[in-house]
């Protein structure tokens, strides 16, 4: 009776044990599903959104939720559902672009600090710690004042505030690997610094770094929404969850659905990415992996 079942399940562990562990965890399943929904929404935003998110229709302003307007309309009569759907695209775009740039920049500087000469390490750590000592919001305000609010400004703010954290982690990992015997063995076989970093150090630290980055995505989404809410992020009429919140904020007394429509996706994406990140960490780190 059990023989066919064994045949069916046996090859799976060899292929992708991490994925199997991820999906075996209920939080992992929930997180993956949420993230998948958000990703699909962002990718197909144009198709999903029933209206142009910037189309103003004053006669239809501040309508409650209805079939044509699922989340109602805002003070300019714009369809809130369309704005939330397209806001997902902005949120993910900022998060993915900014985190990727921060990973590349922080990673490169971290490798240099960890493997390079002592003076370079001191200089880079000083830079990292100086940036990290500023509250993000203060830094953001200063930068917005200097270069003006825009999507690019938000990305620059995120890259500059996140790169030092990645830099410090990569530096610490590189320093501990630098004295590993296999690195000495590679050097004894003639490998240069670039080869050692690219071929031997990077693969050893990339896994944990990606998990960390996936858990930072909701933080960046929140930063983007927060800055947009304050008017320091994307400019109207570009739809963002932050600007939707800002529009709804003024009318919270009589039309609370706008605030809810802008806030719910924030909550769900934060939950989704956090659960996914935690489940990924458990799935990839065998020490935390629960036997199933």
């Amino acid at each position: 009776m059990s023989a066919p079942a064994f045949e069916g399940t046996a090859p799976a562990p060899a292929r992708a044990p991490a994925l199997r562990h991820l999906l075996a965890d209920p939080l992992g399943r929930f997180g993956s599903a949420l993230v998948l929904v958000i990703l699909l929404t962002a990718v197909f935003a144009d198709v999903i959104a029933p209206y142009n998110p910037a189309a103003i229709a004053i006669p239809d302003r501040l309508q409650g939720p209805s079939l044509p307007h699922l989340f109602g309309t805002d003070q300019l009569g714009r369809d809130v559902f369309s704005r939330v759907v397209l806001g997902a695209r902005i949120a993910l775009e900022v998060a993915l672009v900014a985190i990727s740039l921060a990973l590349v920049l922080g990673g490169a500087l971290g490798l240099a600090a960890g493997y390079g000469p002592r003076w370079l390490d001191s200089v880079l750590v000083l830079v990292f710690d100086t940036i990290r000592s500023f509250p993000t919001i203060m830094f953001a305000l200063a930068l917005v004042t200097l270069i003006g609010p825009s999507l690019q400004t938000v990305i620059v703010i995120v890259v500059v505030t996140f790169a030092p954290s990645y830099g410090r982690i990569v530096r610490a990992q590189t320093q501990s690997l630098k004295h590993a015997e296999f690195i000495l063995a590679e050097r004894s076989l003639g490998a240069g610094a670039a080869r050692i970093l690219a071929v031997h150090v990077m693969p050893n630290i990339i896994g944990p770094l990606f998990i960390l980055a996936s858990m930072d995505i909701p933080v960046v989404i929140t930063i983007e929404a927060g800055l947009s809410f304050l008017g320091f992020g994307v400019r109207p009429p570009t739809p963002s969850w932050g600007t939707v919140l800002n529009d709804g904020y003024a009318f919270i007394g009589n039309t609370p659905w706008i605030i809810l429509a802008g806030g719910l996706p924030l909550v769900l994406s934060t939950l989704g990415f956090t659960f996914l990140g935690e489940a990924l960490r458990d799935a990839i780190d065998p020490r935390l992996r629960k036997e199933i």
């Binding site: 063995a185 050097r187 071929v199």
Partner: protein
């Protein structure tokens, strides 16, 4: 013809908290092509420092105070870093002590063995892979075609050491430095690795510097033996001569302590009384004087000179009339 490796008057210091630690003092010996030279000494006697000095991979706290190392006529200390790096892995290779930590845990051995041939831009990836497989087969890895895509943790300790040796031999080096290659392995594996090294010498024209603290290992496969004590070379001789006729009191004491040479009824292991001298001290007397059963006035007042007691047999001891 000049010897393959010629170490002349090498002294290496490590930066200590108050004063420098003298890790190696005035080391002088050479290795001819095609020979296996054993380097014996206790922990801390400078064996590994010497091997890293040859590769110029000493820690930044180490300083070469004096001396030269010539490899095939090239002054290694005068070489620019780029040229030195070109020698490493290409003409001088090293196998390390602990096979559990000398391979990158996150890459398959195939990836590592292909990558290490980075100098051969003329070879396609498939050819590099084929060379790696041929070498794995040569060092006795069963099923190399399948196993090349496995990770280090899927191999046993002895197999990993064979893989390390295969990696070191990929470029057919002239000199292979093996730093205690069998210390982390059990006795049967040790015998296999030693057999492998002996066979390898037949195939490749180079020399092997085998570092060990086990006299049995050295007796088995070496042609010549160099004995280190506290950073100094105390005796050097062809292997048979050294075991039959040790001239330095330290070598004698070391041989008396070798478990392999003990009589069966011995109930306690013999030891050499006393402990290693302070390596921070200036060199004013024989390093072994404090522990030597034959020490006399002169041993505590004067550094002994190296005396040639027989052809190819040198020892540094006042008793030899130096």
């Amino acid at each position: 013809m000049a010897p393959l490796l010629e170490i002349d008057g090498l002294s290496v210091d490590f930066a200590g908290s108050q004063r420098p630690i003298h890790a190696l003092r005035d080391i002088r010996f050479s290795i001819e092509r095609g020979r296996i030279v054993g380097l014996v000494g206790e922990s801390g006697s400078g064996k590994s420092t010497l091997s890293l000095a040859v590769l110029r991979l000493l820690a930044p706290s180490a300083r070469i105070v004096a001396g030269t190392i010539r490899f095939d006529g090239i002054d290694l200390f005068a070489l620019p870093e780029e040229a030195m790096r070109a020698l490493r892995g290409e003409r001088i290779s090293m196998v390390f002590q602990d096979p559990m930590s000398t391979l990158n845990p996150v890459l398959t051995i195939g990836t590592q063995m292909v990558d290490v041939q980075f100098r051969h831009a003329d070879l396609a990836r498939a050819e590099k892979r084929a060379r790696a497989i041929a070498l794995l087969k040569r060092v006795g890895i069963p099923d190399p075609v399948q196993r090349i895509d496995q990770y280090p943790h899927q191999f046993s300790g002895g197999m990993r050491q064979r893989i390390s040796i295969a990696m070191a031999l990929l470029s057919q080096p002239d000199l292979l430095i093996a730093d205690e290659p069998t210390t982390a392995l059990d006795v049967t594996l040790e015998a296999q690795i030693l057999d492998l090294l002996r066979d390898l010498r037949r195939d490749f024209a180079g020399a092997i510097l085998l570092i060990s603290h086990q006299l049995g290992v050295v007796a088995e496969i070496c042609d010549e033996v160099v004995v280190f004590y506290a950073g100094e070379l105390v005796e050097l001789a062809p292997v048979k001569e050294l075991f039959a006729n040790p001239r330095h009191p330290y070598t004698k004491a070391l041989l008396d302590c070798d478990p392999g040479r003990l009589a069966d009824e011995t109930r306690t292991f013999p030891t050499i009384p006393g402990r290693l001298p302070d390596l921070g001290e200036a060199r004013t007397r024989c390093v072994f004087a404090a522990r030597c059963p034959h020490a006399f006035e002169r041993c505590r007042a004067e550094v002994p000179v190296v005396t040639e007691v027989a052809p190819g047999h040198r020892a540094s001891c006042h008793l030899l009339g130096g």
